[in-house]
Symmetry: C2
Subunit: 247 residues, 2 copies
Amino acid sequence: MQVTSEQRLDDGVIERAFLLGEVPGILWTPPPASASAPAPLILLGHPPLGLGTMYPRLAQRARHAAADGFAAATIELPGSGDRPRWPALEQARAELRRAMQAGRPVDDDIVDALVLPLVEKSVPEWRAALDALLSLPEIGGPVGYSGGVISIGIRLALVEPRIKAAVLFAGSLVPAALVEEARRVTVPLHVLLQWDDEGNDRQAALDLFDAFGSEEKTLHANMGGHTGVPQFEGDAAAGFFARHLKS
Amino acid sequence: MQVTSEQRLDDGVIERAFLLGEVPGILWTPPPASASAPAPLILLGHPPLGLGTMYPRLAQRARHAAADGFAAATIELPGSGDRPRWPALEQARAELRRAMQAGRPVDDDIVDALVLPLVEKSVPEWRAALDALLSLPEIGGPVGYSGGVISIGIRLALVEPRIKAAVLFAGSLVPAALVEEARRVTVPLHVLLQWDDEGNDRQAALDLFDAFGSEEKTLHANMGGHTGVPQFEGDAAAGFFARHLKS
């Protein structure tokens, strides 16, 4: 893991850009003076729009986490941002867009073509990032996952034992294979659902919530569209991680 | 309003039993030393099992509210506890029990017969209690409603302008007329749903949440049955009331 830049934000949070092989990422750690022992880590998931585009929202979530004593980190998804283009993914995305613009139901083949390769390629990268991040002296376990591309969250929660709790954004573009994997997820979950999300089928999202195997799972549904998650849900997610990642 | 007993609980909360005409009730107020100015009030709704039976859970909710600076109050429902028996209500309840024990769907007539008279009779009593409680110097507005018999909560939220926010326990035994009233409710809502509630139809509860007209409404769904609401939801409800009842 090669740190390519480091800066101290106005609230004292340390932000480091890094490269892990060819995968760019960002790490935020609480102000050194405030940190007690190694900080637990929250991985910040995000939609495949590129870290540059996502930076403002990611940094806001990271600062909130740091204020609660967590380190936070994210990596670029394959085919996004400055990473090499991924024509197959772009084609699947274009097909999805055409179907949605035409008001057609999005068929399973499109969802599979869009999501499965992203899960297959990115999950090992997130796990490699975990290896590198947890080797830093200021970061300890346990680890939480928070964020979008719920299919990546499902796979990570299932295969990565260091992840002890997850905050997921409910989506409906989830391949059937991942819904089946969701049944075997057992870590505590906190699922956010935007009730009027224009890009998601509400019933499919509720069915996915129902499918999760976790004994402790909570659904928070709020009014409004995809990007309208209310401010107070940040505090609720923080409370969830505090309950599960701090002892 | 006639105070029939008063005691100071171990956390300093003052608990007063009262009679309002023939309706018994309980009022909890924060420790006098801690209270700043008149405290906002939360009305504690509850199922028609009698205040005696419900006391432990109500007192716990009231102490939580008092710790956050709220007064809390409840009154006995008609036909419950020490109030005169109400044969028509008992008959409707027996019919409901028979239908549920036989695994039959509960038909609309039974729900109407059970719930509508309870709403018609109790809502004016809650409003009269509000008049009396808000005349006490230690209690001010605004007012929240929190609790069960969701149909009573719907009617109160619709007709009582002093109620500015409500925490409701999602139920499915809601008369069609009350679902229609829910569409006209506009105060901020925080709705709790037990995902595996044996006494409730989940889809009907989700449909009711969808029906509410409120611009701000949040659904919190948790695993488990009717009485299994997790401890941390008490904090979430407190946060909701703090946002809406304190300025």
